[in-house]
Amino acid sequence: MELIHDLIVQGAQMMAVLALAPLLTGFVRKVKARLTRRRGPPLLQPYRDLARLLRKEAVLAENASWLFRVSPYLVFAATWVAAALVPTFAVGLMFSWTADLIAIIALLGSARFFLALAGMDVGTSFGGIGASREVMIASLAEPAMLLTVFALALVAGSTQLSTVAAVLATPEVGLRVSLGMALIALVMVAIAENARIPVDNPATHLELTMVHEAMVLEYSGRHLAMIEFGASLKLLLYLSLIVCIFVPWGIAAPGAGLGALAIGAVIWLAKLAVGGALLALFETSIAKMRVFRVPDFLGAALMLGLLGTLLLFVSRSL
């Protein structure tokens, strides 16, 4: 009985992230549009886009290989598994111990690895430019992320997200400079990883500035749908991650009843909405950077992460 209950909750979360990811993307777009005084596409537009893409035939470049066709599914699967392992409305889910925070980052790394390879598969200049810039950005974003993880893990004494969330929810943690730095670093990394302004612009097809879009330029039809879906999932993942760590209140405890779970879910939705709105606000108020400013941006995140870790020793002995 217990097992079935756990399985259901775990399954519910996996389905929830799947179902909500396009909605979040649509929501952010909508808010952005409103902030720039446009009406914007409807909230459900991403679902329609996905459905349309899925129905269309896929057009492959002549020399695309099997890797090009497999990558979208792998990227999607890796992102989905990662997203399913981040606590959303409840902690201590059945499979939450499958991977800790470091493994989740690495899973996203796997997704990016295959996406970058897919970008190079057809052998066009744009695919190459996208892939090469993507790995450059990742080479800075990943260490920044890991240093942030160090800071958190040192506070919580764990890299297990459920534990981290539980510890950070307790009042003993209090406000700390380190955590603030970690938050800023994590947000910066999240922006870079999700190809948001000012690092990249998901809406652009202005060739010379694009990174992510350049990589997936050759994709179409169902393949493109999987990639877009994966991107939405990733955004949801990062937002959930940030709110789960830094705003851990209201998450259902392990083995909680249906009521607590429902409350957790509502609170999660609310947090996502706030987070999405903040993201949109940030994006509308800032201009895109040149590509070679990005290392500075991420270098700052890296420094913040390291500083956050080191300050921990100063602020309170561990």
């Binding site: 057009v59 002549e62 190079m120 057809v122 066009t124 200049s125 990943e142 160090f150 050759e218 020793f313």
Partner: protein, 670 residues
Amino acid sequence: MMEPATILLALIAVLLVTAVAAVAIARLPAATAIVYGACAAVSAVLLAVAVAALIGGRTGQLVLPLGLPWLGAHFRLDSLSAFFLTVVNLGGAAASLYGLGYGRHESAPHRVLPFFAAFLAGMNLVVVAADAFSFLLSWEFMSLASWAMVLTHHRDPDNARAALVYLVMAGFGTMALLLAFGLMAGPGGGYAFEAMRSAAHAPSTTVLVFALMLLGAGSKAGLVPLHVWLPLAHPAAPSHVSALMSGVMTKVAVYGFLRVVFDLMGDPAWWAGIVLLALGGATAVLGILHALMERDLKRLLAYSTIENIGVIFVSLGLALAFSANAMAWAAALALTAALFHVLNHALFKSLLFFGAGAVLTATATRDMERLGGLIHRMPVTSLAFLGGSAAISALPPFNGFVSEWLAFQAILQSPQLPQWGLKILVPAVGGLLALAAALAAAAFVRAFGVTFLGRPRSPASGDAREVDRFSLAAMLALAVLCLLVGILPGFVIDALAPVTRALVGGAMPAQAHVPWLSVVPVAESRSSYNGLLVFLFIAASAWLAAILVHRFASHELRRGPAWDCGFPDPSPATQYTAGSFAQPIRRVFGSVVFQARETVAMPPPGDTAPARLVVEMHDPIWERLYAPIAAAVDFAALRLNRLQFLTIRRYLVLVFLSLVFLLAVLALWS
């Protein structure tokens, strides 16, 4: 039941006999098959014996009346040597299998076959040797055998230079080890490891031995700044030998370091950990940055070996730091991470060199700028190479990730260290490790992407053919092992427990009984990882998504010209190249590390010549350290050489002055 040590030595002797026999039969057409077949069989049996000894906890000793006359040649099998025997023979068996096919393309098999068997024997001997003389003899024998194979294609002057640098550095390393052993043996000449282990070493001795081991084992392993020979020598050898040198021989160096520093030398001070951490971090980052700048596929792999050695040494440094502070459980975790990475690197680096060898066979070039599109022509090779690339980039669910993850877990235990220096350094080194891992992923996206994907950049690449069955079998076997070790890491960790128990007096918790075959280094609430489930989840969800999409949405497919934003260009030259792929990273990191500068050489107005982008890079270590040494030797040789051209009178002056000098000494001496 025979003593395992006896069996091992008998098998090693068979390898040596094979080497001698290979000299005799090297010119026969069947020699390749016979020698590699024999090597593969012997390595496989050795592997089985080693694994059995490791798991069964069997140890053994043997003293042969060879070597130093009053001491004899001591050989000992314990858990540490059993583990490294496993690594050596896993690599050896795979390389022999690969050689069965690859060796057929060798233009000068007589320059490889005898040394190949000898090389295998040498590496095995190092790991079981239990006295200083046998150890160094095997160590240098191993170097020499590989040196000879670096010279297989000796007509290329680059290879000759590589071999020279290699041999000098190997000699340097051996001398450092010799000094270290001399120090531990003391004036009485206690060269047996047992005597060294039981002797009480003064702290100053320990410090010196540690420093000398860093020089000796570090130079063989490729620790910065002693790494310069490695990217020259490893790629010069035939590819299966490169695989052994990179994948296995560097591990034998790690073995030497472990054996002395963790086993024989006594307890080092905690700051030894700092040295290792700093060197390891620098090695990892510098190695992979070099790899990113490299356009020679095999040299790229060699530089990546340096990175991995850095990763291993970071973990070793942590183990040392924890062990010096009596934190046996944390030391065990760090040491497990190091040893796990040793195994992993042996697997995937061998695999990648095999892949590079296959590419070399098929296209006759190692220059990535002349490759491309091989995924169509060599599907199996590219699949295996892809697996290796993913593994070395530390991507879950492959094996590389597990050891990196364990290393990070060990790093997270660092706040419990009492020393402030370590507390602050360890997270910073963790950042370097993360940077190295991310750059490694970039490097292998580049390596795989440029070599196998895209369109062929040269006719040779376009006409490539898939390689033979033996090579493919070796590559696939290793790729499967990479995946298997990645999804079932618990068994490996448990197998390593006796090793860590022997070296740092603790072990990670047993993993075999953890539900779902997870890995739990300390406690489940702190961290855990389950490669099996990650693999199953990804496989299941990808498969599910694909099935659903194909079943319920479209499964139609149309081939058309590439879109490329509306500007498709049929010329493969418009693709991104290895050089252009590395350009962003070169700008970000290379400008600092390599003083990389890009200049555009514009033709004067009216000239129709194309403008050229010139990239200028400097190898800081070669230019600041080795070039001055070489110049100093050259200068001294030049100056002293005048003494060859003196007149007889001047020679007599030398005699006269020596005489007067000695007489003056006598006059002043009381």
